[in-house]
Amino acid sequence: MRSRLITLAAALVLMALAPAAPAAEVQRVTSPGGIEAWLIADDAVPIMSVAFAFRGGNSLDPVGKEGLAQLASGMLDEGAGDLDSAAFQQRLAQRGIDFGFDANNDDFSGHLRVLTEYRDEAADLLSLALTQPRFDPEPLERMRRQFLISIQGENRSPDTVANRVLERHLLGDDPYARPTYGTEASMSGLTADDLRGFVRERFTRDRFLVAVTGDIGAENLGLWLDRAFGKLGKSGPADNLEEATVNPAGALLVVERDIPQAAVFFAQEGIKRDDPDFFAAYLMNYTLGGGGFSARLMSELREKRGLTYGVSTDLVTLDRVGLIAGHFETPNDKVAETLEILRAEWQRMATEGPTEAELAAAKDYLLGYYPRNLTSTSRAADTLLGIQKSNLGIDYMDKRQQEIAAVTLDDVKRVAKRLLDAKALTIVVAGKPTGLQGAEPAPAQ
């Protein structure tokens, strides 16, 4: 560190050793009907946020019915029970009930946010949506149309096409590499019966997680949980997907598009959340590209050379695979130079790992940022749900401090060597890059 920073740095070391304020109290609540939820109670604002999920996401869409989970996520607030689409929407809007669903690769999740005075009404509407969705023809065709337009739009987007090329090269035929909303053919063929089957088989208590934050106590929450989720079926078919395998052969592929700036996406195999070296890998990634302006790639590419507005890398931890992925944009005539620096930095991290100072900075960040996950009821509920999804335990927020502190420089160097390999990088460039050595046109999608 330069001399001007010393005084401040010394002060910071002392601050880093001071214990962080204790995390909020997380209660385990079990409803009279046996539904378990995690709760952070706080009555500062008369609002409650609920985050919930059913394990199993887009990856479980049957072949030929890709997009089913996504379509379901769009349809659940389009009418349920005796309330048609208009009436259901009116109820939600008039009480200001925020209500939404989302499907990702591994799970189907929902969130709800409601003022205290309307929470029972919200429970009733949620229960209807999850157990008696109508899937009427008008809203179904309207929603299908929206998804078809999204699919067509994605097919036009250089970014999306580049990402698809990347995923296909890395993961081949695995469901993870399928387009998020499916294809025009698969989306066009989905029926109301498909959707009803989906709801019946996938919205069951045996794969259900729920977390709550806000203006509610444990006893009232118990009653609320039964009101909202008590009618869910007990169990559904088991999921039978295998671990995904990652192509270890690197590549440099170009998706030719007439765009003024090239968009570059890159990835290689990484690590999963349950790997004992997860925090070592996280700290390594933070130093390489995850740490914003503190990261090596940002420093080399943006700060020193002005080659890009932003570059970042992430650990992508899915249920059945882990990747290290990143992206940036740069003018077409700078792609070659930028990639050379990217590869050199990648390899430098693999052979040398981070420095003591870099590791200390990464640890400080990892230890210090966590309370920021709890600044609103919806963020806090989502955070709790994330802990549940990864099976990290209800005391995770306290435990993680020790886990992170225990990671040594040797651990991170070992993990960097184990994981990073510039030759294994699959790089996809969307644009018209000039002067690229060893590039091939991407296969048609």
């Binding site: 001071a18 604002v45 609002i47 309207r142 994605e154 700036q261 890009t308 960040y365 920021r372």
Partner: protein, 458 residues
């Protein structure tokens, strides 16, 4: 807070839906439980306590934005925002963000036409550190060609990424230029490329000395703090900085509109066709206090946007998307936060790519119906209720209320006006809404923009 209505997806014909009679929600007096005071050197301080998490969100907001720039250099405000992360007397270049990272925090900044705002979110025990760093860079920035010129490349890259490579970005820039023929809001915040290429270290230095001073700034701290704690820290860190003379903000105003403007852009990168119309409108601040106790039309326009858009139950979605089935989305919005002007927008995307004209006709028909038949008392009551609920939800956030304060005070508004928003919304009548609509939704006041995908998908 529903100051800018969110994008709509669905709607319902309200006349057909019987809803329980709504008592209009009581307006809440002290929306954010804010405490405010001013230091001797003119620094305004606002404290927004929130104790859910042991975290603070700090903002330092300078009352200067892109619209205050010299002609030919309006992007310098944004350029300086980037340069504020470079070296000061005390810190090496880039150290600011690195230190915030060390603290486990996040930091960023933004430039609007009216303000330049710097913000960080950190665990509460680090407030003293980040406040010291903001006070330092308020007056001690050291700008040299060595740090300035590479950053000029970065902002050119940013313009490339967010405007030139994005067809909606390009079209939005064109709409701004058309809607404001005289006022500096018509120029892009980031600047025009050919001008950005000429920005110099001297330009940045001059702007910094001209506008950055405690008496031209607002300090906002939200989170797990008390006003007393913040006062002590503010006195210690900012107190010693002397006030400076700050120029008055004088901008060229818009003449009356005389002709409808129409723009269109075709691009292979456009994902699907879309249509929008933007109408010049007053803002909360610029509408001021109308004569004879009449309502400030900005509040009526907020209610109007909620009636037309309403998230899931507005007129436009109901009519165009559900009943007529010719649009895939349709909505409206009102943005009233800027200092000098606001904007009322309607927009739609057609169900079939070649039916854009039909969608525009249908939108026009809805606007005519609105201007001719007005709005019902029920619609107004329901819209106001939804907006009040929004304002309760807005309190469930650390950054949200701070940002609202930043925008209001940074644009020369007051905290009292911001706090009065729920009351003023509650007071809006159907008559207010229709008067505001008739004043703003005139054809000649509008810029119509269409975006079309060009050619077949690659």
């Amino acid at each position: 807070m529903g100051r800018f209505s969110r994008l709509s997806v669905l709607g319902v014909s309200l006349a057909l839906i019987l809803i329980a009679p709504l008592a209009t929600r009581a307006a809440q007096a002290d929306l954010f439980e804010a405490e405010s005071f001013t230091l001797d050197n003119g620094l305004e301080v606002v404290v927004l306590p929130k104790h859910l998490a042991p975290v603070v969100y700090q903002m330092v907001v300078y009352k200067v934005g892109a619209a205050d720039g010299e002609p030919g250099k309006n992007g310098v405000a944004h350029f300086l925002e980037h340069l504020m992360f470079k070296a000061t007397d005390k810190l090496a270049s880039g150290a600011f963000s690195q230190i915030v990272d060390r603290l486990g925090g996040t930091d960023n900044a933004y430039t609007s036409q009216d303000v330049t705002a710097y913000h960080q979110e950190v665990a509460k025990e680090h407030l003293a550190t980040i406040m010291a760093m903001e006070a330092d860079r308020m007056v001690n920035l050291r700008l040299t060609d060595e740090v300035v010129l590479p950053e000029r490349d970065v902002i050119l890259n940013e313009r490339g990424q967010s405007v030139e490579a994005d067809p909606s970005g390009r079209l939005g820039e064109a709409v701004n230029a058309a809607i404001y023929r005289n006022h500096p809001y018509g120029r892009p915040i980031i600047g025009w490329r050919h001008e950005m290429e000429t920005y110099s270290t001297q330009d940045a230095q001059d702007f910094y000395r001209r506008w950055y001073a405690p008496n031209n700034a607002i300090l906002i701290v939200a989170g797990d703090v008390t006003a007393e704690e913040v006062r002590k820290l503010a006195e210690t860190n900012f107190g010693p900085i002397p006030a400076r003379e700050i120029p008055k903000r004088a901008r060229l105003m818009e003449p009356p509109a005389v002709a409808e403007r129409r723009l269109s852009l075709s691009s292979p990168e456009a994902r699907y066709p879309s249509f929008s119309r933007s109408y010049l409108a007053p803002s909360y601040r610029s509408a001021g206090t109308p004569k004879d106790g009449a309502t400030n039309p900005a509040y009526a326009l907020s209610v109007l946007a909620e009636i037309m858009d309403g998230g899931t139950v507005g007129r436009l979605h109901r009519k165009l998307v559900v009943e007529q089935g010719i649009a895939i989305s349709a909505g409206a919005g009102y943005s009233g936060d800027a200092r000098d002007y606001g904007r009322f927008m309607v927009y739609a995307a057609p169900r079939d790519a070649d039916k854009l004209e039909a969608v525009e006709k249908a939108l026009d028909a809805e606007i005519e119906r609105l201007l001719k038949d007005g709005v019902t008392a029920d619609e107004v009551a329901a819209a106001k209720d939804r907006l009040q609920i929004d304002s309760v939800k807005a309190r469930d956030s650390l950054a949200g209320p701070a940002r609202l304060v930043a925008t209001a005070l940074g644009s020369d508004g007051t905290l009292a006006e911001l706090q009065a928003w729920p009351e003023r919304i509650a007071a809006v009548t159907a008559n207010d809404v229709i008067e505001a609509a008739r004043a703003v939704l005139a054809r000649e006041n509008g810029v119509t923009a269409t975006l079309m995908p060009a050619g077949d998908a690659p």
